[in-house]
Subunit: 112 residues, 2 copies
């Protein structure tokens, strides 16, 4: 995420969330999708993405399937059953976090 050094720790959640929406995605596709959704604001770096994907796979949340397309290798990732549960868990955890963050950033609205 090169748009700034904000938000370390949300990349795994983003990946899981995108895979809830879309059955199968490959790494490069994820970087492009995030770029598109944020109108170029988030640029996921390979050095962050690939280790994250490998870790999620190692933890049993993702499975892979390699395809050769136009002479290039693509490694498609999809959610396992556990990955599906983890996606839901991580997303709501992140949303709760964001709600709390808003309370701190806008203290007037939360408490006096």
């Amino acid at each position: 995420m090169s748009s700034s050094k904000l938000l370390k720790g949300s990349l795994a959640t983003i990946v899981l969330r995108l895979l809830e929406e879309q059955e199968k995605m490959y790494g490069y596709e994820i970087t492009q999708k995030v770029k598109q959704l944020t109108e170029g604001e988030f640029k996921i770096t390979e050095g962050a993405l690939y280790p994250t994907l490998h870790k999620l796979e190692a933890e049993g949340y993702l499975t892979t399937e390699t395809q050769l397309v136009d002479g290039r290798v693509r490694k498609y990732y999809s959610l396992t059953k556990e990955g599906n549960a983890e996606a839901k868990a991580k997303v709501s955890e992140l949303e709760e976090f964001l709600a709390n963050l808003q309370k701190v950033l806008n203290p007037k609205l939360g408490l006096g």
Copy 2:
């Protein structure tokens, strides 16, 4: 922030934001204020907070003033002029970031 390892990188912004609201605050007070605002959800650890305060001071964004209260030392921090500008900058940077994050988490709303 022990509630999770989410959002590394937002602590300095939180500190600067709180000091926009409240002229002077000391470290322990900041931990308690954040705890109060989030109903106990965010617990800022000393190991994270003090180095952050020292860094912000070293960067010229905060000035300190030590007081002895009830036999205990308190180190009050307040925003410098540059700190004030930095607070505004960091907060809007974070808010833009959060808006983009929402676009990724809720792709349906952003794009098809």
